[in-house]
């Protein structure tokens, strides 16, 4: 008998008390918790996102489409970034005139090559206001999971309010489970030494978020 059969056999014998008529979807789960906490307008969700991102020590900036390239240029210059990783589907206009060397993420690039890059610039899939969370799903403007992990500086552009949801329950239906997801809430951190919080252990030590107002909202 395989170990699979042994374990499943043990599970079935252990559950002798469960009535035969009870199906896998029984007993019903009461989901009377809130879909979202409080009531906010889309603009208030964006404000809350900014507040919670900052509370977890991400640096938050706001921008319109027109201002974006100059903001990106300034933020990279402030960090002294000379090489910037970009995913293949990133809007090329964002980095126009940034005065940096763009490094495309290639499947063949090794972790050591990524380690030599100063910054990474990506978009995002969904942002969650209540928790201050950015979710990346590997879309063309976000790239592979490793590119937002190895460089020490991550600059992430969130289109607001389109990409912002209020809460975790509102985020999950907008995400595809078959894609690898990375949820990011502030920079890498540890509290393992006397519970003192220290930013930047293995992931980026600096997370900067640009809240990019859609042209509709900017009108």
């Amino acid at each position: 008998m395989s170990s699979r059969d042994v374990v499943l056999g043990r599970v079935r014998r252990a559950l002798a008390d469960v009535p035969h008529g009870e199906g896998p979807d029984d007993p019903p789960v009461v989901r009377d918790y809130h879909r979202v906490h409080g009531s906010r307008t889309a603009a208030q969700d964006v404000d809350l996102l900014a507040e919670n991102l900052a509370d977890y020590r991400a640096l938050v900036h706001r921008s319109t489409a027109g201002e974006l390239p100059s903001l990106i240029r300034r933020l990279l210059a402030e960090r002294g970034a000379r090489t910037v990783l970009v995913p293949p589907g990133l809007d090329a206009s964002w980095t126009a005139g940034a005065g940096v060397t763009l490094v495309g993420d290639r499947a063949s690039s090794t972790p050591r090559e990524l380690d030599a890059v100063d910054s990474v610039l990506t978009g995002c899939a969904v942002a969650i206001a209540e928790t201050g969370t950015l979710v990346l799903d590997g879309g063309p403007d976000q790239g592979r999971r490793r590119i937002t992990l190895v460089p020490d500086h991550h600059l992430c552009v969130v289109r607001v309010p389109d990409q912002v949801v209020g809460s975790v329950p509102e985020a999950l239906p907008r995400l595809a489970p078959e894609r690898p997801l990375t949820w990011i809430s502030g920079p890498s951190a540890t509290s393992d030494i006397e519970l003192d919080r220290v930013e930047g252990v293995h992931g980026p030590r600096t997370l900067e978020v640009i809240l990019l107002a859609s042209s509709r909202a900017a009108d």
């Binding site: 592979r144 999950l172 519970l195």
Partner: protein, 496 residues
């Protein structure tokens, strides 16, 4: 410490040693009080916490009641997404599977993200025997590994170490594992974290095999979830070519939607954050992103025995948040090592005896490692009634009864060491049923109190050896009540 929990003394003896360690107690008290206060604030932010908690418990209960169904569904989904699924009945089998999988890659080193399941089965030791070095990459686990120590907390395994101890360990040991600690390393947490970053980055960038656990597995999609803070998890999950995840069978949840409950309950309960810095989800393998080969090892190792106990089953709801440790007065004084397993604190006191059986001295002592104050139940995000299970297990220890061990029903004999306690409890029950006897006994005790030994003789010695015997008052409570509040017939003045 030798890096293994085997041969640990039973809880009372280990706790007696720990409570005399003033530095340990100071480190623990600071840490648990800090985190419990933060947790209370994080939970208070959500006005539907009670509903989330009930839903979390209900989802887990439903899963456990149909675990066979959900495991088969999970397996099919993982395989469909390009993963390979292995089943392990016990620790030995899980270690054999993982060792074989690592050997097949030809690699002799692996990077690990903190995993309770692999600690439970002693995977690092098993790999070492096979000539494979496993590097722990969580900062606290690194401290524990370099210090040849054992974890003492679910969430912050090096909670028993303070910054100067950590600096000493880094200075002394880092060089023999890889990149040495920087010259002149101070004990500031930022410098210590930086030293760990430099030390471990060497490993991450060259690692070909990663080993993880998982916080959740979604049956309908085959998705695994790892929740962490430092990014070492992301490193282990995405940079290596081969990923091996060892996960207890109780970690499955039915649906993608169920994550909305647990991703709210877990961070606030464990690190007291709205959300932990990093959560990674993956479903099998993805072309061009992350490991090319993914193995899931589903671990039983006593979980089905726990499932067979209709009272104790609820322990399998546990999402390893560690909130119960941080509120427990016994944990705060005894420390995590006293529990003799990777699962310390109140949850360990009910989980370890169920996973391993209560025949051993340590396991039989764990249900008593509690004051039954109920604080652990109050904070548990999936509402595990830990005091109920503790009492249930105490009854098993003292009275014996039907249990399931390695899948087989058997009848447990009462534990030998508890014969005197059993007799004393029966005598007490009889005395409480006979008020005259009780009254006479209490008066006798009061009048002979100067003659009482500080340690009990005979079969009571084991009981009193680990307890401070309370002084018997000069007057029994009944006599005091009669004297001060009693009716006139027995009132003898003095009170007014």
């Amino acid at each position: 410490m030798s890096g293994t929990y085997l041969g640990m003394p039973d809880f009372p003896r280990a706790a007696a040693a720990a409570t005399r360690d003033t530095r340990l107690r100071a480190n623990l008290t600071h840490a648990t009080h800090t985190i419990r206060d933060k947790r209370a604030k994080a939970v208070a932010e959500l006005d539907d916490w009670a509903q989330l908690r009930a839903a979390g418990a209900a989802v887990k209960d439903r899963t456990l009641r149909h675990l066979d169904h959900y495991l088969e569904q999970l397996e099919a989904a993982v395989v469909a997404a390009g993963g390979q699924v292995h089943w392990a009945v016990d620790a030995d089998e899980a270690n054999r599977i993982v060792t074989r999988l690592v050997r097949e890659t030809g690699e002799r080193e692996v990077v690990k993200v903190k995993s309770m399941a692999t600690q439970e089965i002693g995977l690092n030791e098993a790999l070492a025997e096979a000539g494979i070095r496993a590097y722990e990459t969580d900062l606290a686990e690194l401290i524990v590994q370099l210090g040849d120590d054992l974890p003492s907390h679910l969430l912050v395994p090096a909670i028993h170490r303070n910054r100067s101890e950590i600096r000493d360990i880094f200075r002394r040991e880092m060089g023999s594992w890889g990149r040495p600690a920087p010259e002149g390393l101070s004990d500031s947490p930022a410098e210590l974290a930086e030293a760990a970053r430099l030390h471990l980055r060497e490993k991450f960038l060259s690692a070909k095999v990663g080993i993880s656990g998982a916080n959740f597995m979604v049956a309908e999609t085959g998705t695994l979830v790892v929740v962490e803070s430092e990014g070492n998890g992301r490193m282990c999950l995405t940079l290596p070519e081969t990923l091996i995840s060892v996960v207890g069978i109780e970690k499955v949840v039915p649906r993608w939607q169920d994550l909305e409950v647990f991703l709210q309950l877990l961070p606030r309960s464990s690190t007291a954050e709205r959300m932990n810095p990093y959560t990674s989800t993956w479903t099998g393998t993805t072309d061009g992103d992350g490991p090319r080969t993914f193995h899931l090892v589903l671990l039983d190792n006593g979980r089905t025995d726990t499932l067979a106990d209709t009272v104790g089953r609820q322990a399998l709801r546990c999402i390893r948040c560690s909130a119960c440790l941080n509120v427990c007065p016994v944990y705060e004084r005894a420390g995590g090592h006293a529990y003799g397993s990777p699962y310390p604190g109140p949850i360990g006191a009910i989980l370890t005896p169920q996973l391993r059986g209560i025949e051993g001295a340590l396991e039989a002592s764990l249900p008593y490692a509690s004051s039954l104050c109920g604080a652990c139940y109050e904070v548990c995000p999936v509402a595990i009634d830990i005091p109920e299970v503790l009492l249930h297990l105490r009854e098993r220890v003292v009275e014996g009864g039907p249990v399931t061990r390695r899948g087989a029903r058997t009848v447990l004999q009462p534990a030998k060491g508890h014969a005197a306690e059993r007799a004393a409890m029966r005598a007490a029950a009889w005395a409480f049923d006979h008020p005259g006897v009780l009254r006479a006994g209490a008066r006798l005790a009061a009048r002979t109190r100067r003659l009482h030994p500080r340690r009990l003789p005979g079969p009571g010695r084991a009981w009193s050896a680990t307890r401070e015997l309370p002084a018997v008052p000069a007057e029994s409570f009944r006599d005091w009540w009669q004297r001060t509040r009693g009716t006139s017939s027995e009132r003898q003045g003095g009170a007014k």
